[in-house]
Amino acid sequence: MDWSAIFGVSLFAAGLRLAMPTALAAVGECFCERAGVLNLGLEGMMLAGAFASFVGADYADSAAVGVAAGIGAGVALGAVMAFLSVYLKTEQVINGIAVVIFAQGLTAFAYEKLYGQSGASPQITPLSNVRIPGLASIPWLGPVLFEQNVLFYVALALTLGVWVLLYRTRFGLSVRAVGEAPAAADAAAVHVDRVRWLALLVCGGMAGLGGAVLVVGQLSLFNVGITAGRGWVAIALVIFGRWNPLLVLGGALLFGLTDALQLRIQASSGGINASVPYELFQALPYLVTLAVMVAATVRSRRNAQPSALGVPFTKGVSQ
């Protein structure tokens, strides 16, 4: 086994690439869960964002329009989720699954309608990579951090932005209060439902952006299975990261790195003749996430989970 090929610089670059879409969705989910809403519709929002970004980039011949469309689609589904969970106050777990089924169904239908009959499969122009001069020449760190797609830097900035928003602004304080003790927040004149609405819109937008990164930023094509369960993993990562955006980002990177690692091990050990079944490699990221999630939950018994997570807030009724 060629260890230098496995653990080289490109492992980290690949890990970052694989992690980015999931990380965006996970940080968004972290934000809305902090506000007390469990959004299981993330996979649907990512898919919708991926599809919308593809259509937008194709019709307007512009990657930027695609990204905007992706974010828009995510926000729209976030609004649907908010309507169900915050306005109607129905069971959040079910709402999330419903949003996923809704998004998968409509996307399959729309893709078939728009592109299913044409002879050629569409191609879009992706966002180009940005190479920061000078910094990119730093050995090792350079290619990993400073020679990435534009959306990579946007994603990093957004994650930091969410952290700042959550911990350093008044709005963030409201969000956290609404997730921990909504009755108290309500008494302090915070409009609980409005905060939750906004949190869901942010979450949806970030998930949509994650989908857009996948399509416009990385692959420049679309198929109905393109998100491949990343939204679900993102939800697990929020628990893994104990509802702290920076730790959640770290978790996403860990997952991406593990995935990149298992691919590299397969690549360098010859694959066909490997004595370890490749399903073990494929399962590795999920096993690692599950293990660390369990460990994180077990260790912090007094938990980091927002106390009002999943519970709709009704004025006047004790929670």
Binding site: D2, A5, G8, S10, A14, R17, L18, P21, A108, Y111, E112, Y115, G116, Q117, S118, G119, A120, S121, Q123, L214, Q218, L219, S220, L221, N223, V224, G225, I226, A228, D259, A260, L263, R264, Q266, A267, S268, G270, G271, I272, Y278, E279, Q282
Partner: protein
Amino acid sequence: MNGQSTQDREDTVKHSALRKISLALVALVVAAAASAALAKPASHTDSAAVQKKVKVGLLLPCAINDHTWCQAAYSAAVRLQKEGAIDLKYTSNAPFDTAAVSQLMAQYAQRGYQLVIGHSAWQDAAFSAAGRFPKTAFAYAGGGKVANNVATYEEPIYQVAYLAGILAGGITKTGVVGGLAGQDIPLCHAELQAFIRGAKTVRSNVRGLSAYIGDWSDVAKAKEAALAQADSKADVFIACGDGPSQGMIQALKERKLSGFGYVGNQNSLAPKNMVGSLVYKLYPLFKLMVQDTAQGKFIPAKDYDVGLKSFQLVLNSKYSQAKVPAKVMAQMKSAQKRIATGELKVPYIAK
């Protein structure tokens, strides 16, 4: 609770439960009766009349413009339709689960379609539907069990992968070639192995890498797998599957490497990087099945295999000829002739 006895409450609960159930059953019966009354009767072919055109139902698990698996079947079927040989109806993005596919095939058969083709490894579904319609011809892709009215058609991509491998042996500068597949199915295994063996005939110390993505449509992961192999020095690639081939193509463009397209003509997707595509020519296979159906010779069913005629290595004219040594090209062409005559037998390694 309210002066009601336990017995009263139980009776009430029982009554309302019964009432609910009966209401629901009534509703269901009414709905079923109404729909039965209003439903269009399913059409049946007049089997007495001689059918000039064979009615063919085609099930595709993907989209007709995917540049690979489904497009290959669709274009072959459309060609037969244009020639006036068949009346075609197709379902794209069909479900994968056996129960649904079996029902869908049965639906076609029930409407009088004479040949139902399931373009995927839907052996169990085909047999299940075929048991109900013994006079209808069923076919599924990839090879496997045949009996009575269920046939299969082969995908001997490994033979043309061997030819691609010869070219790869001449193109590779590093001596390492890469291969990607969705799962380790015999088809893909044989394809990747043949590719490596072909390369070894040109350069005996070629090293072959392979990766199994685990998913047939995760393009991003496939791209990363190809990049991982590129980091392990692979510079010529082959793929098996829709997602794997698309991911491979993305990686080729990024790293300026070379590769071969899978099943469809994917040369236009990366004009500078594609050496050629292993194009699946389903037309001869479908034509045979249609002819057999028309002449009543379908049953007992066969394993349709036209060998190298079902695959063509379509070279990409835009690929730099300088990269392929003339000697290697000649070797490939000679091997192609020898496979066609049977003189050269490409080893089929399924595991």
